[in-house]
């Protein structure tokens, strides 16, 4: 369970996240929506250690209270993420992009470790799932935009299978943006499967159709503040939400 307590982040004079206190329900697909500049991506960056927050607290699980989050620590809480601008290891093979999410994190452990059948089996399973098995020996750099998004999602799946306890919470930053219908289907199937296996899936998304179809719960942000939260249909029919989106 991830909770935030009054976290704040300003860039110069702009309050990107302005005292948010939210608690992500477990085992659900949660949408984070809001107009451009409402603080959605900043929130994900704060919660995954990519940007330090100015003040406030983040609680992970029952007992862990964090004043500061380091990016390399979040995987130990079972948290991971994807990026809006797809960040792959470009000049590495598709296969290596997956293997790196599974092999040893320890300096000395990794120095004396070569990937084994166990690692290759996970990679094969994942790459087949995201329809990239045929591309396993190509450089990530050579993939199409949609394939790149799928590879990034594949890394998340591999990480889940590779970790002893699996992942707990996954942030997807605009996973559907720029995808064709076919690929959208693959991604939404994966997201639903993750939820069905008990993971908390948090997606940032602009497309209301997708939000309605996928999400169990939704948070609406506006100017870094929480505007509304609740079940999708209830929230989307609220007057203030409509106004924030339509600017009336």
């Amino acid at each position: 369970m991830i909770k935030t307590e009054n976290i704040k982040k300003s860039f110069g004079g702009v309050k990107a996240v302005d005292g948010l206190t939210i608690s992500f329900p477990e085992g659900k697909i949660i949408g984070v929506i809001g107009p451009n500049g409402s603080g959605k991506s900043t929130l994900v960056n704060l919660l995954t250690g990519f940007t330090p927050y100015d003040s406030g607290l983040v609680k992970v699980g029952e007992h862990t209270v964090l004043k500061k989050i380091k990016a390399f620590d979040i995987s130990s809480f079972g948290i991971t993420r994807t990026f809006q601008d797809v960040r792959l290891f470009e000049q590495m093979l598709v296969m290596d992009n997956i293997l790196i999410a599974i092999t040893s994190r320890h300096v000395f452990g990794s120095l004396f470790e070569k990937h084994k059948k166990y690692h290759l089996d996970i990679a094969e399973q994942v790459l087949k799932k995201v329809d990239l098995w045929e591309k396993k020996d190509e450089l990530a750099h050579n993939l199409s935009y949609g394939q790149r998004k799928l590879l990034e999602i594949g890394r998340v799946l591999a990480m889940d299978l590779g970790e002893e306890n699996g992942l707990h919470t996954i942030f997807f930053d605009e996973p559907f943006a720029g995808l064709f219908q076919e690929m959208r289907k693959i991604v939404s199937k994966i997201i639903k499967e993750l939820r069905d296996r008990g993971k908390t899936v948090i997606i940032i998304e602009h497309n209301m159709e997708i939000i309605r179809e996928l999400c169990d719960y939704v948070f609406v942000l506006d100017s870094g503040k929480l505007l509304a939260e609740g079940k999708v249909d209830e929230v989307l029919s609220k007057k203030e939400v409509m106004e924030a989106y339509l600017g009336e």
């Binding site: 250690g49 990016a71 979040i74 995987s75 290891f89």
Partner: protein
């Protein structure tokens, strides 16, 4: 024949240097311009321990490797605070500092006079005084470093190094403490360069600071750019090529007064042409 032997030994000394720098620059993507400093630390440690303290070659070179690694670790700690251009500049500055120490700590290094009379290595009373036996030692040294490098690049650790080069921030999301990985490869490769330094000192039997300045760091960098970044074979090909090139130019017949300058011109020209037409180097795959 003796001349050919000399060149082969030099190549054998430069291969570990190039391999070690390639692990840092080519694989990990850290533009370090300081490897000549570790090379020098290895060379000076061996020279001083053997001539002043009478240590055996084997113990002296072991100490040289350890000392270079320790200094590499300390520098790596400082460098971990920097990125990209600043990283290159700080490492550049460090090379100058170490060079100045070699030059000015006269009571230890004899400054610009250098250290003459370093013994050739000997094992169990058997001195490798002729060049053939020294060649065997160099081949053993270079092969050892090649095998270690190969094992690093084939391991999960090697994959992480490439990940750091490609996107260090994104890699941290998977739970990698990338600073530790960078520090470790810096320590390992500083030791490798230290070994090359020890070989050099006992081969030439004389060292002075001029061998371990910025020019040398840039020369090693040129070897790996030319041979191929992130390619172990490239490091070997680059070392052979850049050691032999000036020798080939010797036979072209430039007048002696411009021969040295022409060598520099040819180096520069080669690098420019390579960047334009083959940015991955002669046998490399990774494009800068």
């Amino acid at each position: 024949m003796e001349y050919f032997l000399h060149l082969t030994i030099l190549i054998g000394i430069y291969i570990p240097l190039a391999l070690s720098l390639n692990l840092v620059v080519g694989y990990t993507g850290l533009l370090s311009i300081t490897h000549a400093a570790f090379y020098g630390i290895g060379a000076y440690a061996v020279a001083i321990l053997m001539t002043v303290y009478g240590w055996s070659f084997f113990l002296a070179i072991l100490m040289g490797i350890i000392l270079a690694s320790v200094v590499g670790g300390l520098l790596g700690l400082v460098l971990s605070h920097f990125k990209d251009d600043y990283y290159a500049l700080v490492s550049f500055g460090f090379n100058i500092i170490i060079y100045s120490i070699f030059l000015n700590w006269e009571s230890l290094t004899r400054g610009s006079l250098g250290i003459p009379g370093i013994d050739r290595p000997s094992f169990f009373g058997l001195e490798l005084s002729d060049n053939w036996s020294f060649l065997i030692l160099t081949i053993v040294g270079a092969s050892l470093i090649y095998l270690i490098s190969l094992s690093i690049t084939k391991s999960s650790f090697g994959r992480v190094l490439k990940g750091i080069r490609e996107d260090e921030r994104a890699l941290s999301i998977f739970g990698y403490n990338t600073k530790l990985f960078k520090l470790t490869i810096f320590i390992i490769t500083a030791g490798m360069a230290g070994l090359a330094g020890g070989l050099f000192a006992t081969y030439i039997t004389f060292i002075d600071p001029s061998t371990f300045g910025l020019n040398e760091s840039i020369f090693i960098l040129a070897i790996i750019i030319l041979g191929g970044m992130a390619s172990l074979k490239g490091s070997v090909v680059g070392a052979i090529f850049l050691i032999l090139l000036p020798e080939i130019l010797r036979f072209v017949g430039f007048p002696t007064e411009i021969a040295a300058q022409m060598r520099q011109v040819v180096y520069g020209l080669l690098l420019v042409l390579l960047m334009l037409y083959r940015p991955q180097g002669l046998v490399g795959e990774y494009k800068i």
